[in-house]
Each structure stands twice: as structure tokens, then as C-alpha cells.
């Protein structure tokens, strides 16, 4: 039996199934659930970056009408912020201030107004200590991290000897590149509503991982995990900051238990700069050596990034350098420097986005040093297999990406000389860079249930953070079940549903999609078996291979008149439903193949020589991402990633006050994200790619590859336009005058 004979729903540019709810305002986000007797929490944040709380006076706050609780380290229940893995959370357990913006108290009141009013009246005296705030001043304290970089790789790697490779090189590029702190700024602020029912806890939380939240909260509060339920039906963007469970989530639960009422706590935009992670500042040294012909003889990528004083996060900037180019001598390393900042976290393509800025800028510098076209340089060093793992690729279409992208962009018309292309007074530059992102997959489960009325419900924990999970899972389920998409209801966002991984690392489609595919296929086979063994069925006696499933019916391939609807089979057997569960997990493919998406970014910039203003005016991105589940959502994901890259290249930069570590641009007026006018026409090419190895549904992730290579492509284009090489992001106007 198969369904490939029928028109596949997968691959169609289906409209989002949740589109209607979103355009009418009906979609409920985590702060929007009507809960009886709800009260409101706000957190108080430290205003110094290092020291101790010498005194905290809550009396005036407690006198504000409606105030139910002012929770500080003096009266907070004892919990362990380190329990349960994930992030180490400061949870009002001591008087230590570790960074500016740390939650040092929670006020709960009958209204948000009263809680805010009371929070302002809490009087705090600190014993302030000298904070460590600047990477450059503390480089001598850089250390080798204890942890691994994703997925379970050591922080350092070496193949051959870079020193030797550099010694034989005819041309060398050795440069330092820096990237600043950046904040995710999803449009929806973090929000949690905690409801206790006896010793059970229900949390509506804006999270990228309901199961991760469940485990962390249960561990910290010392509860059996089955007593914690997390719900998250719609998440207004995440990009990584909602991938971990942060302090405010647990604090809300703690406060709700104290006041014996449901508590809602929403972080203000300003409060999202510090306590919910950020892309850490990095300093990266790249050394490249090459022969005159442009063959790499050495590649070293050494990254140092910042982490907090109490937890470790490594921005894996040098991970890409391990696998992207063929080179006999490759060394990579990751070092950390502890500063008085909140703990950094994954932000859209962590490591790949920031690391590719350095590596792909350096490749451009090398191309200029060698006077070789930058695409040609990359082709000469094309990795036919993964040089680190020494494994073949499950599929790789990077060559086609370069070719098709360059053709669409008109790359051959480029005059490589800097400042050679102009439109009147305006300088024009063309730049390119390679994009890549690994294909990840984790264990995931799903249940598919076919109902007697010919519809189906498919359930899987998971979450939709805007990536289209509801939609693509509906499509996968439709094909697996042999039903039209309209007949399928896909449910997610609840830990009472089958377990799934965090929506991070672009793995949801591959992980959850595989589970949904298997569960759907299994439910359909079970149903078919009933028919094949039932004398009353027109399909009786046939084999599964003879049957196709179409629009909720089984029919014989060569005798279409012998057909039966799903509903008819179920009712004849007196069944309301038939269901199957699948627990899908990655298999041996990951030991046999190296699995990555690849792409090529082509950019045109226009630079105003009077003011240094840079505008991106044209973009072509070509990508090989395996099978496309939905061209419409895929296109948007890649464009969204590219535009995130425009922000990273030209404007995004979180600035701390140099003495106290307070973020001075903690709002959307001063922390710039791209607006519509910053976005040029963007042409996304999907290079046709079949990957039979990667997972049962042949998909590679698409959420993150779009940003990789983006910042470098822009910086390379700016160099081409102006002759100025900016190695420090963001590329703001004053760096160009």
C-alpha cells in the first residue's frame, strides 16, 4: 500500500491552518488565557551588575492596596535553581547580585497597576562590587569550557597542523573579527501564567519547549514531573530565547503557590535584555593559508565568547570551520570569558551565524589577496565529504547553489575592484558568502487517530513558534493517513500529548514530522488490515500492496470500483476510532552520513559616501534543504532568516553602560531590528534536492540556514563598494566614514 499514487499534500503551498485564528485575533498566546481569580506579578530587577543586597525594605510596597506578596531572598521558599539541568537559575535564594537585570524580587497584587506601583516602592541598598563587563579587558581569563558544543562535540578540534599549513602557504589571511551582544526580541514578550490545583501545577508559558519546561520546573520545585503540565498553543516568536526555562517562569510558580492564587507574569520589553539570554559577544581569530592557485593549506578558527559568572554557554562559532572547506590542516577552538552578565543562549543559528561572519569574511579577504573570484575560491576548496567526521554527505547541493545563485544574481557582471561600481554618487557593492546549517533530529512521538466520521486527530506535544508546525504536520499527516488536509486536526503545545523535543536547531520538521508520518502510516495500515481480513469488505483478500488510500477511502489499484471508506470499515467493526502511536528516533544514519543544509547568499548594497548609510538593495539566496514540505512557509522561513541577518549585519547591538552593566538600549526604539524599508527584494531559490538518508521524510531544517552567511555577504559587499573592510559588527554608518 502506498499513497504516492495520489496527489501529495506535502510540498503544496498550503495556507497556514492557523492563519484564520491569527488574522482575526482569535489565537490565544500565553498571557491571554482567562483564568479565574488571576492576580498579577511583576519582577524587581537589580540595578547593579555585581555585589550583594545589603538591605531590602519592602514595607512601603506591602502597604500598597491590593498587594498580596513581595517575595525576595528573605522570604522566598527554598528551591534549587541548578536542579534539572538546562540553565542555572538565580531564584531569590541568596543576596548575591550576578548581573544587572537579575530578578531580585517578585511583587504580586490584585492588578498589574498595583504590582507596578509596589515594585517601585521596594527600597534596596547594595554593597556594590567592581563588575567584569568587557570581554577585551578580561581576555587573560579566557578558559577552556567544561561543556560540549552542539551536538556533543568537544570544544577543540585538530586535523593536521595549522602551523605547518601556514608555513607552506603562499598567501595568508590572519584577522580578528568581533560580534556584539544581540537580543532575540521576538515580538511576543515572555509570559507565564501559573495555576496550582492542589499539588499539581499548570503553566501557560511562552516556550519553545513544553517538555523542557516541564522537566526543569518539576526538578527545581522538587515535584514529580507528572504533576506539572505546560501548555503553549501559540508562541509569538522565539528564535532561541524561549528555548530555555528562565527564572521568571519558576518564580511565577513559586509566587502563585505562596499567594494561593493563579499568577500571571509578563516581562516588559525592557526586561527581556538580560534575564532571558542573548547572543554573546564574540572575538574570533581566523587564519587562512593558501597556495597561489587558491587551495587552502591551513584553516584555523579560534573563538572566544562571553558567558555569565554562574553558568556556561558556548557560542559555537568555529563549528562550521570543521566541515565547510576541504583543507589538510584544520584547527578550531572555543574559549569562554566570564562576565557579570546574564547567561547567554542560543540565538538563531548560534555559532553558525556569528562564526560565518568571521570565516566567510576571511574567505573574501583571501579571494582578494589571491585575486581569485570568491565563488571560484570556494569551489576550489569544495568539501566532497565531511573533513571532520570523515563521512560522506547525506546530500549536498552547494555547487548548484553557487551556480544557480550566481546566475540569477548576474554575478559574472561584477567588476571585482573595490569602489568600481557606482550609481551617480552612490557606491555599489556585490558580495557573497556560503551558508550552512546542520540537519538535526531528536526522538519524538505522535499519536494519530482516525475517526468514524472520516476525520482524524493527530497529536504531538511540540510547539509552533511561527515556523508552521501546525501546517506542515497537517500536511504530513494528510499524506500518511490518505486524507485531505481539511479533515485533519493537528494538536500541539501540551505536555499531556506525546513527547517531542524543543523547537530549536531547526529540528521540529525532521523530528516531529517523522513521528507524525510514522504514526499516520501505522494508523492507516491498522485500519487497512481490518478491511483486508474482513469478508464483508470489497477489499477482502487483497494484499496491502494492491491498495491505495485516497481521500479517506481505500481502493484496489487495478479495480477502483472495489473501494471502501475509512468510516465504513470502522463502523462495521463497531469502532469509533482506530489509533496508532509512533516513537520515532534517529537511527544509524547519523553514524553513516554527515547531514547539513547548504546555501549561497548574494547581496547588493548601496552606500551613501556622505553619510555612510548602507542599504541592502538586492538579495539572491540559493539553498539545498532537502524535501520542501510547504513552499510558502519555507520561502518565508528563509526570507525571515535573511532579514534577521540584515539586522545582525547593519544594526543589532546591545550596549551596556560601561560601569554598571545596565543595557542602555533596552527597547525597540534604540535596539534596532529591520523595518520593512530595510528589506530589499529577496529571491530565494530552492535547489532541487532529494535526500534518501537524512530521515523518513527527507527534510532538512530551514529555520536557521537563512541567517548563516548573511552578515559576511553584506560585509563583503560593503568592502566591494567602499574598499573598507569592517571586521566588527554591526556595520554602522560611523565605521564607514
Amino acid at each position: 500500500m502506498n499513497s504516492s499514487d495520489m496527489k501529495s499534500v506535502v510540498g503544496k503551498p498550503l495556507n497556514r491552518v492557523d492563519g484564520h485564528a491569527k488574522v482575526t485575533g482569535a489565537a490565544r498566546y500565553s498571557a491571554e488565557f482567562p483564568v479565574a481569580k488571576l492576580v498579577h506579578g511583576v519582577t524587581i530587577q537589580s540595578t547593579i551588575a555585581s555585589g550583594k543586597i545589603a538591605q531590602i525594605d519592602t514595607r512601603a510596597a506591602e502597604r500598597v492596596p491590593g498587594v498580596l506578596l513581595v517575595m525576595t531572598h528573605l522570604n522566598a521558599p527554598k528551591v534549587s535553581g541548578e536542579a534539572g539541568g538546562d540553565r542555572k537559575l538565580p531564584l531569590l535564594q541568596d543576596n548575591q547580585v550576578r548581573y544587572s537585570g537579575q530578578h531580585i524580587g517578585v511583587v504580586v497584587a490584585d492588578t498589574f497597576e498595583h504590582a507596578m506601583q509596589a515594585a517601585a516602592l521596594v527600597n534596596i541598598r547594595y554593597d556594590e562590587e567592581q563588575p567584569a563587563l568587557h570581554l577585551k579587558e578580561h581576555l587573560d581569563q579566557a578558559y577552556v569550557p567544561q561543556g560540549k558544543i552542539p551536538r556533543d562535540q568537544p570544544p577543540d578540534s585538530a586535523h593536521g597542523s595549522v602551523e605547518q599549513g601556514l608555513a607552506t602557504a603562499a598567501v595568508k589571511v590572519e584577522q580578528t573579527y568581533t560580534t556584539p551582544i544581540e537580543n532575540h526580541n521576538p515580538m511576543e514578550p515572555h509570559a507565564t501564567t501559573a495555576v496550582w490545583q492542589g499539588d499539581r501545577l499548570l503553566l501557560y508559558d511562552a516556550t519553545q519547549g513544553v517538555f523542557g519546561a516541564k522537566k526543569k520546573v518539576a526538578a527545581v520545585l522538587g515535584m514529580p514531573p507528572e504533576n506539572v503540565r505546560i501548555m503553549s498553543y501559540f508562541v509569538g516568536g522565539g528564535f532561541g530565547c524561549k528555548g530555555s526555562t528562565w527564572a521568571h517562569v519558576v518564580l511565577t510558580a513559586m509566587a502563585a503557590r505562596q499567594v494561593n492564587r493563579p499568577v500571571k507574569l509578563v516581562l516588559g520589553r525592557m526586561q527581556m535584555f538580560g534575564p532571558v539570554g542573548f547572543r554573546p559577544e564574540t572575538m574570533q581569530q581566523v587564519s587562512l593559508g593558501a597556495t597561489r592557485e587558491g587551495n587552502l593549506t591551513a584553516l584555523r578558527h579560534a573563538g572566544t565568547s562571553i558567558t555569565s559568572t554562574f553558568d556556561e554557554f558556548i557560542e559555537p562559532v568555529a563549528k562550521t570551520a570543521r566541515m565547510i572547506y576541504a583543507c589538510p590542516h584544520i584547527e578550531t577552538s572555543h574559549r569562554l570569558v566570564r562576565l557579570n552578565v546574564g547567561t547567554p543562549t542560543y540565538m538563531r543559528a548560534p555559532g553558525e551565524a556569528s562564526g560565518s561572519f568571521a570565516l566567510e569574511s576571511a574567505m573574501d579577504e583571501l579571494a582578494y589577496a589571491l585575486k581569485i573570484d570568491p565563488i571560484e575560491l570556494r569551489l576550489r576548496n569544495y568539501a566532497e565529504f565531511d573533513p571532520d567526521k570523515k563521512l560522506p554527505w547525506s546530500s549536498k547541493s552547494l555547487r548548484e547553489c553557487y551556480q544557480q545563485g550566481a546566475a540569477r544574481f548576474g554575478w559574472q557582471k561584477r567588476n571585482p575592484t573595490p569602489r568600481s561600481m557606482r550609481d551617480g554618487n552612490t557606491l555599489i557593492g556585490w558580495g557573497m558568502a556560503t551558508a550552512t546549517y546542520p540537519t538535526n533530529r531528536s526522538p519524538a512521538s505522535a499519536i494519530a487517530q482516525i475517526k468514524a466520521d472520516g476525520t482524524a486527530v493527530v497529536r504531538s506535544g511540540s510547539q509552533d513558534i511561527g515556523t508552521g508546525t501546525y501546517t506542515v504536520m497537517t500536511q504530513i499527516a494528510a499524506d500518511a493517513l490518505g486524507l485531505p488536509a481539511e479533515q485533519i486536526q493537528f494538536e500541539l503545545g501540551d505536555t499531556n500529548l506525546p513527547e517531542t523535543p524543543v523547537s530549536g536547531g531547526s529540528q521540529t520538521a525532521a523530528s516531529v514530522g517523522s513521528a507524525v508520518h510514522l504514526a499516520g502510516t501505522e494508523a492507516r495500515s491498522k485500519l487497512l488490515q481490518l478491511a483486508l481480513m474482513d469478508q464483508a469488505s470489497p477489499l477482502y483478500g487483497a494484499t496491502a500492496e494492491d491498495v491505495i488510500a485516497q481521500n479517506g477511502r481505500f481502493l484496489l489499484k487495478n479495480k477502483a470500483a472495489n473501494a471502501e471508506t475509512y468510516g465504513a470499515i470502522l463502523s462495521r467493526h463497531g469502532l469509533k476510532t482506530i489509533e496508532a502511536r509512533a516513537d520515532a528516533k534517529p537511527g544509524e544514519e547519523k553514524d553513516k552520513y554527515s547531514m547539513h543544509s547548504f546555501g549561497a547568499q548574494f547581496v547588493e548594497v548601496r552606500v551613501n559616501p556622505d553619510s555612510g548609510e548602507v542599504r541592502v538593495s538586492r538579495w539572491v539566496g540559493a539553498f539545498g534543504v532537502g524535501r520542501l514540505l510547504n513552499a510558502k512557509t519555507a520561502n518565508s522561513q528563509l526570507i525571515g532568516g535573511i532579514v534577521y541577518g540584515i539586522g545582525m549585519a547593519l544594526m543589532e547591538h546591545t550596549v551596556m553602560d560601561p560601569n554598571r552593566g545596565r543595557v542602555v538600549n533596552a527597547d525597540l526604539a534604540e535596539y534596532h531590528v529591520p523595518v520593512n524599508a530595510d528589506v530589499p527584494s529577496i529571491d530565494v531559490i530552492f535547489v532541487d534536492e532529494q535526500d534518501p538518508h537524512v530521515n523518513p521524510i527527507g527534510v532538512k531544517g530551514i529555520g536557521e540556514i537563512g541567517i548563516t552567511g548573511s552578515a559576511a555577504a553584506i560585509a563583503n559587499a560593503v568592502y566591494h563598494a567602499t574598499g573598507q573592510r569592517v571586521r566588527d559588527l554591526p556595520l554602522t554608518l560611523d565605521k564607514l566614514l
Partner: protein
Amino acid sequence: MKQVLESCLTATINGETVRIQAIAPTTTLLEYLRQSGRVGTKEGCGDGDCGACTVALMAQGADGKLHYQAVNSCLIPIGAIAGRHILTVEGIANGCLHPVQAAMVQTGGSQCGYCTPGFIMSLFAAYYDGTVNDACVEGNLCRCTGYLAIRRAASLVASSPVQDVFRDRLAQTATELGEVSYDGAQSQFYRPTQLSEVLALLQQHPNATLVAGATDLGLDFSHHRKSYPVLVSLEAVVELNFMHQTTEAVEIGAAVPLSHIEDRLRGVFPSLDEMLYWFAARQVRNRATLGGNIGTASPIGDLPPVLLALDAELKLASAVGERTLPLANFFKGYRQTDLQPGEVIVSCKIARTIAPGAVRRLSQSYKIGKRGTDDISIVAAAFCIDLDEQNQIVHARLAYGGVAATPVRAIVVEQWLLGKPWTAETIQQAKSHLKTAFTPLTDLRGSAEYRKLLIANLFEKFFVEYP
């Protein structure tokens, strides 16, 4: 003006009459909507920066007719909606999806969906104005889509406005805003209709604060959560809501929203057109006023440089009487003005005549920010040069924002330019004077050095564009 304060405000939300009671008049419309269960409208910042909270306010446009105006509900004090009609994302699907909603579904303009209600309402307002284009969503941020799918949605509906109930509703005649005197949660909100009443209220309540579009003051309500015992809204005051054009001059009432100025004066002052284009975003310009922009005395206010370069003159009024004052004498120091207690900015007058002996006028403005639109200036500049038949400079105004504690003119350089020919050589010399004319600060947006460069380079850019 009613002296008895009402304890209830009435407004219409999505066609339904609502009575608002016992809440402070500074409570924002967004807070009210969300607290009353209308959670379709989103809060992304509370600062006017993201547009997630955009709703449509039915209001008189520059043409005197009713329009749907996209506004940021996070910056609107609830007092300001008394007697008005608001539409939110929940109120525009009339049985089936509104065309702008359908288009957003069709093109995938909504991903996580959190920005979507705001985009929908910006598009909705533009749809009935026939102005669905890129600019109509300039005040809406989206972190997911990269905007292109939203642009495609806009282009789908751009050319097909239909006759429907929403358009029918616009055919009603616009009624003038009525008086409001409201007291809620120990704060008072007045919306008088006569200047004399404003002046009387200011006499009665020395602690009163004037509010116009609240796009600046609104941050105090929404973000800093300051409470104001007495607010006096200028929105309905007839003497502040007029525009008067003659061949000699243009006079603009202080409470006229910037979007009206944009529409009605287009083509009159190129430098004003240009600056209004770069000024904030649609939602803000629909509410922000000229009086408010001058009243904030912000060193980075964008209109003062333009008005300084055009020698604008203010009319001020208080219970004592009226006076006029050149704008150049109005700014006294960082966020300090010559405005006396009890005094109100009534209007701003700009002459259209050029200097005696001159045969042509060159005038333009420039705003440098980091983003394509919707940005705060690093430096704003406005220039006005009058030339005689010999191409000699007979009148020069070079005004800047973002380079000192107040908006300022480069008076020394202006004087130096008089009598010089309008040539590249003169510009080069002027540039070297301009580099030392001010001592700007280094801040987040740009370094002092970069600002100095801009001060000079922008003048050269002006010359290149207007040789």
C-alpha cells in the same frame, strides 16, 4: 466647560458602546482593551515602537471627512477616546474575513502571528484611504516574515477597495469632538473645545499638564507609569486646530496632527515634506502634533530644524494675553523653553516670501538614522539659502538637530556665507567652519566625530543636490 466631573466615559469599540469607569484617564487604550478581554490587540513594547497594538480610530482627516486612522493604542490615554469609535482586529471580519485578513492568510503574511493584528489594522486603515503601500506598514515590526509576504498581501488588496459597511460608516459627516470632563481613580481629564477654557483650566490647576497627541507624553503613561493629577487635552480646541494658507505665509495650529500637515501642505515647503516623510511612522504621525514636537523641546525633535531654517514664528497664549516669538528664541536649554506657566503654544507661522533682492530659494532637509524608516535622528539638518541674480547668497539658514542641547542654527556660518557665491569653493570653506561650529556628544546613535562629519557633509550634499 462643565465643572462637574463625570465618572464615566463612553466610547464605541467595534460597533459596541462601552462605558469606561473607575480607571485612571492615563490608562492606555491598549491596557483597557486587553484587561477587558479584547486580547486580539497585542502589546510588543508599550512604547510606540512596534505597532503590534495598532487599532483604527475613526477621525477627521485633513479633508474634513471621516477616515480610519491607524494609531498605536499603547500611547493613547483612555480619556482621549471619549465619544469616539475604535476598531480592532476582532471587529473587522464581518461574517467572513476582511479582504486584508484574507490576503494575509493567502500570502503567508502571518507566521508567529503576534505582529499580525497590528499589520492587519494598518492595512485596514490604508485600505479605505486607497493608500495600501509599503509606507502604510512602516510603523509595524515583524521579526518572523522578513516583510515580503506582508508586502505581497498589501499588493493583493491595493487595487480592490470595495463598498462595504466600513466604507458606508465613513460616509457619515464627521462631528466635532465634544467636551470631556472625567475623573477616574483620582485623576482628572479635560478635553475643552475653546482656548479660553484651556487657559482657565491652567489657571485653576497649576499642576495641570497639557497633552496633544500623547506620542511623547504617552511614554510616561505606558512605560514610566507616571500619574498626572490633571490632564488637559488640546485635541478638540478649535483655535489650535486650523491651517491657514496665503501667498505670504502659512499658519499651522499647534494641535494639528502631522499627517494633516503632510496632506495639506504637500509641495509648499520641500524641507517640511521631506522631514515628515522620515518622521516616526504613520501611526505616530496620525496623532503627533506640531505643538507637541516643539513643546517637548527635544534636542532631537525633527521639525524644529526645519522650522528654524524657515524662520518660523510661534504664537503663544496665556490668561495674560497673546504674544509672538521667533522659534529661534523659544529653546532655552536642554528640554527648557520660554513657555511661561499657564501658557500654551497656539500656532506656528512660516513665511513663504524670500529675502529682498533674492531671485531664488533653495531649501531642503536631511535626516540621518540607522534604519530605512521609523528611526530617531543621529543628526537632522535643514537648510535654506536665498540667491540673487549673481548667484550670491543673500540669506542663509543652517539648522540642526542632534548636535547640541537644543535644536540650533549655525549662526556664525550663516553670517559668513552672506555675500559669498553659491559655488563648490564656498561650500568647501563653509564645511571647514561647520566642523568646528558645534561640540556634539557621543551616544548610542553615533560618535561626536561622526556627527561633526555629518554636520559638514550634509551641507555639501545639499549643494550637490541644489547647485
